[in-house]
C-alpha cells in the first residue's frame, strides 16, 4: 500500500527525495562502507545488548 502511495505522489517531490537519497547512498558506498569499523556505529542501550 505504501509503495503504491509513493508512486502516486508529486513527481517533483519524488525527484527531490530520490536525488537526496541517491547522494546519501553514494556517501554510504564511498565513505561509510569502507570505514565500517569506525563510522556509522549504531549504539544500543546497555540493557538491550545481550
Amino acid at each position: 500500500m505504501l509503495g503504491y502511495v509513493l508512486t502516486q505522489l508529486d513527481l517533483t517531490a519524488l525527484a527531490w527525495t530520490a536525488g537526496i537519497t541517491v547522494v546519501a547512498s553514494l556517501y554510504w558506498v564511498f565513505y561509510l562502507r569502507p570505514r565500517q569499523d569506525s563510522r556509522w556505529i549504531i549504539t544500543l542501550p546497555e540493557d538491550q545488548q545481550s
Binding site: V5, L9, T17, T21, T43, L44, D47
Partner: protein, 414 residues
C-alpha cells in the same frame, strides 16, 4: 540491500559495548501516560491541523476527512510495526537504530536520511503557518514570519530553553482547547450533513465546484500521512520508559489514537460547518472561526494557535538538533563534523547541531510551501515503508523468539 545482517550475528556484535567514558544510559522512569503526553506535546497535533490540513482542504475539499481517515488506517499498521520494532530494539536512536540493527546498516542509513529530510523541513513548514494566525494583530509576510520563528527557535535552542513539563503541558492544553473550540463552532454552525464527507467536492473560488476522486486522495496521501506523523517519536523515549517491552507499544498506539482524534474531529466539524465550499477549499481556518464566533473569540483562537506553532517550532528545533547530535555520536560524518555536532556550549546545548538545523530551516521558509509539503510527504511514506520492510526482519530466525510486543495478523517467516 546488500548489507543485511547475518541473522546468526547477535545484536551485541552490531552494537559494541559503549566505551567507559560514554554517556550513561537514560533512567527508565516514564509510564504510558507520561510518555503519551510528552510525545503528544512534541507532535503538536494542532500545528498539523492548522498548518498542514488547509492544503488538503484546497485540493480535496469535503474529502479531506476521508483522506486523513485512510491515512490514519495506514498509520495504525505502521504503528504496529513501530511498536514491534520499538519493543525489540528500544533505543533513543529511534528508527535508524531499529532498522539498522534488524535489516542492516545501509537500511539504517537510508532511514536516517529520510528522517533527516523530515526533521529539517517540518519546523520550517510549521513556522511558515504562523503569520496566518497572527493576522488579527499584525500583517506579516508568511516567509518572513516563518524565518523569524525559526531564528527565535534557534536562539531558544542555543540557550537550551527547554520547556519544562508545566509549560509544555500548558501549550498542549491550549492546543486542545483551540481544537475543541473549532470543533464546537463547526458542529454548531453545521451547513451540510455527515453524508457530505462521503462525496468529494471542491470549490474553485468562484462559486463553481468540481468533483474529487480517489486518485486525488491517493495523490494527497503523502500529506495525509504527514498530518499524523510524529506518533512514532514515542519510540525515542523507549530508553526512558518503564517496562519498554509493553509500554512502548501502548505509548505509540495511544499517541496515534489521540492525535487522530484531535485532528480528525475538528476537520469533520470544519467540513460540515463551512458556510460554502469556496470557504472550505480556501482552508483559512482563522477566517472560518472569526465568521462563526465573532472577532474576539476568533482572535483568541488564532493567537492560541500562533503560540502553539511557535512552541512547536522551538520544541522541534531543540529535538531535531539532537538527531544531528546523535548522528555525530554514531560517527556518521568525517571526524571534524562528528566533533562539531557533538560540541556543547555553556548552556549544555549542542550549538553547532542547533545552528545546522535552525539556519537552513530559516532559509527553507523561502522555498515554495507546496514543494516542502510534498517532499516531506514522500520522505514520510518512504520512511514508513522502510520501517515496514524492517519489521519483516523481526520475524527472522534470530529475532522471532526474542521477547517483544508482537503485532497482530502479521506473517511469520521461517
Amino acid at each position: 540491500m546488500t548489507d543485511t545482517l547475518d541473522p546468526t550475528i547477535p545484536v551485541s556484535a552490531v552494537a559494541p559495548q559503549a566505551p567507559a567514558d560514554a554517556p550513561k544510559r537514560l533512567s527508565r522512569s516514564l509510564g504510558v501516560v507520561g510518555g503519551t503526553l510528552l510525545t503528544l506535546s512534541c507532535v503538536t497535533p494542532a500545528s498539523s491541523l492548522f498548518v498542514i490540513v488547509p492544503d488538503l482542504f484546497s485540493s480535496l475539499g469535503t474529502y479531506t476527512a476521508m483522506a486523513i481517515g485512510i491515512g490514519s488506517l495506514i498509520c495504525i499498521a505502521v504503528a504496529f510495526c513501530y511498536s514491534e520494532l520499538g519493543t525489540l530494539i528500544p533505543s533513543a536512536g529511534g528508527e535508524y537504530a531499529m532498522v539498522g540493527t534488524l535489516a542492516g546498516r545501509f537500511a539504517g542509513w537510508l532511514v536516517f536520511i529520510q528522517s533527516l529530510i523530515v526533521v529539517m523541513i517540518v519546523p520550517s513548514l510549521i513556522a511558515i503557518g504562523t503569520s496566518e494566525y497572527l493576522a488579527p494583530i499584525v500583517d506579516v509576510d508568511p516567509r518572513i514570519a516563518g524565518a523569524a520563528v525559526m531564528i527565535a527557535a534557534t536562539v531558544a535552542g542555543l540557550l537550551d530553553l527547554r520547556a519544562n513539563a508545566w509549560l509544555t503541558g500548558i501549550f498542549l492544553v491550549l492546543e486542545v482547547i483551540a481544537c475543541a473550540v473549532v470543533s464546537f463552532l463547526g458542529f454548531s454552525h453545521s451547513e451540510r450533513g455527515a453524508s457530505s464527507l462521503l462525496h468529494g467536492v471542491v470549490g474553485d473560488g468562484s462559486g463553481a465546484t468540481s468533483p474529487v476522486g480517489m486518485a486525488a486522495i491517493l495523490a494527497a496521501m503523502g500529506t495525509a500521512l504527514f498530518v499524523t506523523q510524529g506518533f512514532s517519536t514515542a519510540i525515542y523515549l523507549s530508553e526512558e520508559l518503564e517496562n519498554p517491552r509493553r509500554n512502548v507499544a501502548r505509548t505509540v498506539l495511544w499517541t496515534l489514537g489521540l492525535s487522530v482524534v484531535v485532528i480528525l474531529v475538528p476537520v469533520i466539524a470544519i467540513t460540515v460547518g463551512a458556510p460554502d465550499l469556496d470557504a472550505l477549499s480556501a482552508g483559512n481556518i482563522s477566517e472560518l472561526v472569526a465568521g462563526w464566533s465573532g472577532s474576539a473569540v476568533g482572535t483568541f483562537v488564532s493567537l492560541c494557535i500562533a503560540l502553539a506553532i511557535i512552541n512547536a517550532g522551538i520544541v522541534m528545533v531543540i529535538q531535531n538538533s539532537r538527531v544531528l547530535f546523535a548522528s555525530g555520536r554514531d560517527k556518521a560524518w568525517p571526524e571534524p563534523a562528528n566533533k562539531a555536532f557533538g560540541t556543547l556550549n555553556r548552556f549544555s546545548a549542542p550549538w553547532i547541531s542547533t545552528l545546522a538545523v535552525g539556519i537552513p530551516g530559516a532559509a527553507l521558509c523561502f522555498v515554495p510551501n507546496d514543494l516542502l509539503t510534498n517532499i516531506t510527504g514522500v520522505a514520510v511514506a518512504a520512511l514508513y515503508l522502510l520501517v515496514a520492510v524492517a519489521s519483516l526482519f523481526s520475524r527472522s530466525k534470530h529475532h522471532k523468539n526474542a521477547p517483544a510486543w508482537r503485532q497482530p495478523l502479521c506473517c511469520r517467516s521461517p
